[in-house]
Amino acid sequence: MKKKESVKKTHYKVSFGDRLISVVTYFIYSIFAFVCAYPFYYIFINSISNNDLSKRGKVLFWPREIHFNNYVQTLGLEALPNAFKVSVARTVIGTIFTVVIAAFLGYMFTRETLWMRKFWFRFVAVTMYFNAGVIPWYLTMAKLGLTDNFWGYILPTAVAPFYIILCKTFVESVPKELQSAAEIDGAGTLRIFFNIIIPVIKPILATVAIFAAVAQWNSFQDNLLLITQNTKLNTLQMVLYNYINSASSLKALVSSTTSGASLAASLATAATATSIRMTVTIIVVTPIILVYPFFQKYFTKGIMIGAVKG
């Protein structure tokens, strides 16, 4: 292997033009990486710096006078811990629903014994390509009592045609003998699903789970449309959006957290609208940043399979 490499290198020499391309490429991609990474870093260092400096825009490249008071204060805000719970709950429950249903239907749609299999598969799959629009959807949800209701986050996305197709394709690639052997041994439809199919299709389930979880965590539109009265059901995304947009309510919040807590709270650590905004942003984005690098290969696999299908 080593030898081959060296042979390769002597075969052609690097011209000036090629070297120039190298330098320019490295330079440009460093800029791209910086543009994508720096905003996260910028907000993070501001959330742990002297709040007064931060408010005046003086914290740009490294944290100044580090303190973690913002996190303590922000987590003490009334709306936040609750919104956090809602976001976690919908992510966990929603993901379980989506994954289990995608696996089960993906499997069932490969079973030739299923009554009108092709028709039902198309019945589900075609829903990827149309939707009734915001108003009819909202009115349906209202009729079903799913407005201001936690299940409004879960049920509409529980049956996800795209993930079902991914699972179906995967099940089809599993040797049929596995199923028929189990059938001869007397295993029923459900037994085969739990004992044979699930263990085999685990890799694709991981991909589906990670996509479904990110989608649930990030979901904002359903919150915006469905939650009108019961603000206890607002997710982190909604709370963050409100914090950014309603400067006036934020001010009230700021004074309520600082006045009682300690009048002696110095300018450096007292909450400001900026500090709360930045701290909440970091809190909302952290789960994604923690999850992403470790599961990158599952994400990448997801887009690949999707591409083959698409």
Partner: protein
């Protein structure tokens, strides 16, 4: 024999019973709302009972009824076309991004760039907006740096103006999506036959020549499919991105079709909003069928 086939039939019905609950969910959440299209043919102002519109196409006609409404319709369509158009015209960017990323030989650096640039795809538009707000606010880093360099005296209020709105929306969309979109091309490039590039190199081809004559031609089919999908979704720019960036200063330039439907509905125009949705769906389905046909003609298979 008869008993046997009966048993088989029974099983096929039983299996249907297993999936029935999920079929019902699909029916309720995807098919049943279609019935709500009827509201486009009614006068409906909640909480009043809907009454049949007179004339029946009243709400469709309303879109072009008076000067103010026509102006609005044209404005919204112009925004939608402009933003989708810019996205379509610049859709080659992720491809070029992937091509040159592939030229980077230092693997850790490549991996780092790839990880960092795909990350924004996984944060919500609310978070993107929050980042925009923090970075571009009057005391944000951009204004501070510009001031520090002496380029501006007064901070610029980037988010509260409608200047270059279409372009800004494209920039944010690219910031969020380009790295992720590039992954597909990177995979396609990995699939290129090594021997072909090696042979070209031995023949003295420069890197640019290899890119032009080997790399790009081999990933063009992937690009073609994505362009087709882009065209099929031309009217569906989504509303989240524009909703979060919307404020009273920039509404005129940012209101795309999907957002307009939402805003209209919020002002009580349920019937009008539904009428717009219907028109949009019809056009979208036509676009989808047409692009799918084109794709079938061009590469022998559609994407549906």
């Amino acid at each position: 024999m008869k008993a046997f086939s009966n048993k088989k039939k029974l099983r096929s019905y039983r299996e249907f019973l297993y999936i029935l609950p999920f079929i019902i969910l699909v029916a309720i959440f995807s098919y049943y709302p279609l019935y709500g299209w009827a509201y486009a043919f009614y006068d409906y102002v909640p909480p009043n009972q809907p009454t049949v519109a007179d004339p029946i196409f009243k709400w469709f006609q309303k879109l072009f009824s008076n000067e103010v409404q026509i102006k609005n319709t044209v404005r919204v369509l112009r925004n939608t076309f402009a933003i989708s158009g810019i996205n379509l015209l610049c859709s080659w960017f992720p491809m070029i991004f992937a091509v040159f990323l592939n030229e980077i030989k230092c693997r850790p650096f490549k991996k780092f760039v790839q990880t960092v640039t795909t990350l924004p795809n996984f944060i919500s538009w609310v978070l993107v907006f929050s980042i925009a707000f923090n970075v571009f606010s009057t005391t944000g880093v951009v204004n501070e740096v510009l001031k520090g360099l002496g380029l501006i005296e007064q901070p610029i209020n980037f988010l509260q103006s409608s200047d270059h709105m279409w372009f800004k929306m494209w920039l944010w969309n690219t910031w969020k999506n380009a790295g992720w979109a590039a992954i597909m091309y990177i995979a396609a490039i990995t699939g290129i036959d090594e021997e072909m590039t090696e042979a070209a190199r031995v023949d003295g081809a420069s890197r640019m020549q290899i890119i032009r004559h080997i790399t790009i031609p081999s990933i063009l089919p992937t690009y073609f499919v994505l362009v087709m999908l882009n065209i099929a979704n031309f009217l569906s720019s989504g509303m989240e991105q524009f909703y979060v960036f919307q404020n009273s200063f920039n509404t005129d330039a940012i209101e795309v079709l999907d957002l307009y439907v939402y805003n209209t509905a919020m002002q009580g125009g349920y019937s009008l909003a539904t009428a717009i949705s219907i028109l949009k769906t019809i056009v979208s389905v036509v676009l989808l069928v047409v692009t799918n046909k084109i794709s079938k003609k061009a590469r022998g298979e559609g994407f549906i």
